[in-house]
Amino acid sequence: MRVGVITFPGTLDDVDAQRAVRYADGEAVPLWHGDHDLKGVDAVVVPGGFSYGDYLRCGAIARFAPVMQEVIEAANKGMPVLGICNGFQILAEAHLLPGALVRNHKLHFVCRDQWLKVENNSTAWTTRYDQGAEILVPLKSGEGGYQADAQTLETLEGEGRVVFRYVGENPNGSRNNIAGITNAKGNVVGLMPHPEHAIDALTGPTDDGLGMFLSLLDSVVKA
């Protein structure tokens, strides 16, 4: 399994995403923001950070990077794509996922270990989890509040496209406690929390996040 991990100027969690891919026995392939091809990878992770300094609006500039045009095209053809934190913001800006991420309701950056409920275990990135399972992974963001209009929310909820939901106190004011969503096909997933920081209890709160990368392995092998 070859998994591309994109680095934009200002990307921070690319090394972590690469490590998570390796922990799931995949090969991590670094992709540069200026690349015009995806080097034959089977899937792509758009990692967290502050691409282009989060100037203008989180993800708004990265969305236009050459490599993203390739990602958009591949995602529309069904390639598994995972956006974590800033990566989720970029996928939303790229319209691969609906809605937007806004400033946390208490206006502070929040870094904490966060319980999530797995609401959909049929996407390319979540098959290793039990439906309804609760996992503990880090959340660390200043603009993680998920916002969408009522109709979009209704569609997401109605089609089971909410993948992860915050358990307990809402950490950032997200609508419907939404932590992560998927597209209609289930190949593109975006979430604010960081599964790549929870692949080993030595350096994370748990290894609960590894399941996402192992799930990918299953979907790539099946395909």
Binding site: P9, F50, F109, T203
Partner: protein, 753 residues
Amino acid sequence: MTVDTVKNAESTPDQEQPYKELGLKDDEYARIKEILGRRPTDAELAMYSVMWSEHCSYKSSKVHLKYFSETTTDEMRSKMLAGIGENAGVVDIGDGWAVTFKAESHNHPSYVEPYQGAATGVGGIVRDILAMGARPLAVMDPLRFGKPDAPDTKRVLPGIVAGVGGYGNCLGLPNIGGEVVFDETYQGNPLVNALCVGAMRVEDLHLAHASGTGNKVILYGARTGLDGIGGVSVLASETFDDSAGKRKKLPSVQVGDPFTEKVLIECSLELFEKGIVVGIQDLGGAGLSCATSELASAGDGGMHVWLERVPLRATGMTPAEILSSESQERMCAVVEPANVEAFMEVCRKWDVIATEIGEVTDGDRLVITYHDEVVVDVPPRTVAHEGPVYNRPIQRPADQDELQANTPDSLPKPAKDELLELIKSQAASPNLASKRWVTQQYDRYVRGGTVLAQPSDSGMIRIDEETHRGVALSTDCNGRYTKLDPYEGARLALAEAYRNVAATGATPVAVTNCLNFGSPEDPAVMWQFEQAVKGLADGCVELGIPVTGGNVSFYNQTGSTAILPTPVVGVLGVIDDVRRRIPTGIGAEAGETLLLLGETKAEFGGSEWAHVVHGHLGGLPPKADLQREKLLGEVLVAGSRDGMVSAAHDLAEGGLAQALVETCLIGETGARVFLDGDLFTELFSESAGRVLVAVPRTEEQRFTDMCTARALPWRKVGVVDPESNALEIQDLGSLPLDELREAWEGTLPALFD
């Protein structure tokens, strides 16, 4: 704009210059004239005035700081690859890795402009580490604030915390520790110290120097602007004609752009990796003045800089302004001519602006021209390394005896039935309360190497993913102890930071410091400083670990009152396998026994109890026994290595009571405690050299046998009780963990949300 050239300076020897406004004394100005054989140009005056400032020249502290190197033995120095005088100290930690770490103060800017002051403090120390050739890996921030409920603290604290987080988070460095302490002496002068640690392969160490005639000097990173020019702006108003003199100045606190710094780091690391950098220097305080004079001074030749080549972000900047601008996110490299194109290529990849601004010459002068006119022509050492040195008067304060005589012995002690409530109310006091409100604004996970972070005793990061080698870091200082006895206070800070590192299973190997004091012109402050330096240096000799670098910040005072003397001490430890780290919270293993290592005496001078309950500061601080600390450290490391210790937490402010509260709450596990002797002393004394450890019952005999054999006093003080969800103290009663958590975690949100 008229430019003050060397030629002009020679022909107008009597022109008045605003040296006083720039902070230079009469005799300092006279010395500059003597060095140059003429009056300095505006640009030279700007250079000398910033480089000879207290902050850059250490002119009041130099004579005392010598004591650190004088007392460091060859044996202590054996693991040091670079030390005091370099941008940061470097230590060989094994497996081919070198680790570099340093702390710096950004106190005054952070009071004026909390967010940017704190942010650029982080940015500056990170560039210092980068300039050693290392990848910066983690930061930590020891902070001091005024009274927690004062209105101005509500302006200063949230801004500083947001600035530390805003910059560090966006830079992608985990924040793994630090301190938050309140005391009214910091009301008009908060302390913002920033520490950064980085690592490199031993062979990749880069020292700042410019050698090799013909080598090119390249400035890369952000453009140079009018921000952070500070005092030098008076030059402009003196020399500009009227219309230009009305130009609006930007704030003298620099503005940071962490995104640019992140790109600068990655770009620099790629340059180092390609081996195309001869010398490197970051631009921090004093900007280009500092970088060019230090590079030239440390090299073997002279340097010529063409100032008009510096990329600017403001129009009409004078040479003096360009030289002293403290615009952030800039670095200066010395590169062989053949490698310039390769250098530029890497910079283009990262979209980093890079400009060849000068070259190394075979002379011994630093010559700076501006559009072909010479504006600076100086011997670089006189700017960078041969600044004034002062032997300031020293006088033990007249009221020191009175302060020490005012012991806490006569303070009313709580009755036995008040002790439980005191444990809780003390845990809720601002200095002991959970700092989660602060630390949850910092990313502690990025880069995936964080093994321990706040609220652990030390931060710990993995350096090598294959061998699992890592380092632990802790900073500490109790300003109240230091006020009562600066010599002992500094030793206590060292002892605690050392103990914190050992409590996580790491072996302490090196020390850095950030010495925050009042005005050096006050003989009483200089006495505190001298005593603290001696205490720290002598303590390091006792422990056998070297001071590898440090920072001095003077003139910290609220009105005319100096801050509590605050020599923050940072200790670096090495752990050969981070998987055997000892956590701070109990409950990791089923069936643990609680042991108290060390001895408890009735020591309440400067204690949290005296402060919180009685508002009292007097007497003598606890005694630090550094041989005992060393033994304690060895026992903890041995316990970690042999899997005998499942949790450890050092006893410090708040004594055993606070250590119990924290170990239970962090581990989310209850405990039953039984103590004998005077319960108040047992629970609240702040005797040094003590650690609370949890050992699995199966290891209890082996561990206590080891302690006995090595003559380390130990006592069984309780058992971990996963069923109870309470801290139960025999003869006193039970404190439910929920209630304790509310007390411990509720204070800061109630003050600052």
